[in-house]
Amino acid sequence: MLTIDKYAYNNEIASWSPSVKGLLWLVGMIIAFQPILLLKIVFLPIAVIYTLHVVHVTLHQYLKWFYAVIPFVALSIIGIAFTMSPSPKNVYGAIHLFGNYFGLAKSMMPMTLELSFRIITAIVCTYWFALTTPFQQIILLFKHLHFPSLLIEETLLMYRFIFIFVDSFEQIYRAQELRFGYASLGLSVHSAAILGKMLFEQVIINYQKMTYALDAKIFQGEFAVQENKI
């Protein structure tokens, strides 16, 4: 998922004002949640093609990013679409189970369709926003929207440290793998346990180092969030 971040800095509309992008995202979300299905069906391919175009990403790579969310979407849709019914007439593809019939609920079909399009449109919109908006613009947008500064600082630091965390994870993992730490199931479990422990220790050490560095840079308890016109 971190590659999404890379694209956010290097796309054709990276320099657009974050407020404009935020507004466009909102319009997309309204389209996703309004009741006219046709509008969504028209909107969806346009949004996808536009994203592929400005971000310079292949359809294949783009679809891969959906793997991360598809399980959740699928689970919720399955929960609604499939049902048990005493009569086979109410369901498609009925399977006789414990005296009832299991299958796709006929009465639920319009709703399932509606829901699927709503979710997919919302995801496509959000990906468009995430793929085209560099992080510091998101922070500026938060600032424009008068989000509490505590939340903004928290987001800022989390973003920065996600990368440090992922880096440490990769380093330790590679070091273990190079020395055959994941050669068998037993070893893997053992190595994974050590990895977890080391990451935890690293977090504590990093926290200490961060405090030192903040002191050295005369931190007064508030992170400045503003556009530096440099």
Binding site: D5, K6, Y9, P134, F135, Q136, L156, L157, Y159, R160, F163, I164, N206, K209, M210, Y212, A213, L214, D215, A216, K217, I218, F219, Q220, F223, A224, Q226, N228, K229, I230
Partner: protein
């Protein structure tokens, strides 16, 4: 001037600095080297100098005044004595280079024009103008190092502490570092550098302290500090090659490599051998 008087420091019960006394910033000593092997206590000493750690006994004086550890005094101290950490990753907070470089200036609540002017100047000085809009997480180690130094240089402090500034740099990066340090020193900046890169230290420093297991075991200028090969070996260090040439081959002791390569007499003598 920074003075350490009988400074001891221990992490919990692990004694790291032992009775360290020294005076930094005497006239003619603008670039001071702190040399010592891994774990000898260099970084720990730096953290004591900027008031992040407090000596367990003894005291540190800045311009004759003992360090005070209340917030106001520390803020004052950290504008005069600035540190660039060994690990540059730890010193970078923002996602974009220019924002990070401006961080300390915003903390001091300087006016926007001043912030912009200082950041621009430092970007130019370190030759990193092309990086200013780049996200920090995708920079190389050497680039991160330069950004970390930039974020401290903007403070225009009297003292600059550089903890292992050449670690992980390629030859070009190292050469740039040498040029940078020389340039800063020529402008009157006082610099304390820790390292075990002996040739680099020899090239750049005016005066040296040799640290072994938390003790200062030797101090002096180029001629004296690196003269004792046996002591250096005991400290797991190596003589700079110019010193080796001097001691083992009887060549004159050159201040830096270029001085040797430009020595007409030496070139003449050597070509006579062939």
């Amino acid at each position: 001037m920074i003075e350490l008087q009988d400074v001891d420091f221990a992490y919990d019960d692990h004694q790291v600095l032992k009775d360290v006394s020294l005076t930094l910033g005497k006239p003619g000593q603008n670039v001071i080297g702190l040399i010592g092997q891994n774990g000898s206590g260099k970084s720990t000493m730096f953290l004591n100098l900027v008031g992040i750690l407090k000596p367990t006994s003894g005291r540190i004086l800045l311009d004759g005044q003992p360090l005070k550890y209340d917030k106001k005094s520390l803020t004052h101290l950290r504008q005069k004595v600035c540190i660039v950490f060994q690990d540059s990753e730890q010193q970078l907070f923002y996602s974009i280079v220019k924002d990070d470089i401006a961080f300390a200036l915003h903390n001091l609540k300087l006016p926007q024009d001043e912030v912009v002017a200082r950041v621009r100047k430092v970007l130019k000085q370190l030759d990193i103008e092309h990086l200013k809009d780049r996200p920090i997480q995708y920079l190389s180690g050497g680039q991160k190092k330069r950004v970390a130094i930039a974020g401290i240089l903007v403070l225009k402090s009297e003292w600059l502490l550089l903890d292992e500034p050449t670690a992980g740099l390629d030859p070009d990066g190292k050469q740039r570092m040498i040029t940078l340090i020389k340039g800063l020193a020529a402008n009157g900046q006082k610099i304390l550098i820790s390292s075990h890169d002996m040739d680099f230290m020899y090239e750049i420093g005016d005066y040296f302290y040799l640290l072994q297991h938390g003790n200062i075991v030797k101090q002096g200028d180029k001629k004296t500090a690196f003269a004792d090969d046996k002591l250096l070996s005991e400290c797991s260090l190596e003589q700079p090659w110019l010193m080796k040439l001097h001691q083992r081959l009887g060549l004159p002791l050159y201040e830096h490599a270029d001085a040797m390569f430009e020595d007409e007499q030496l070139i003449h003598t050597l070509s006579a051998i062939q």
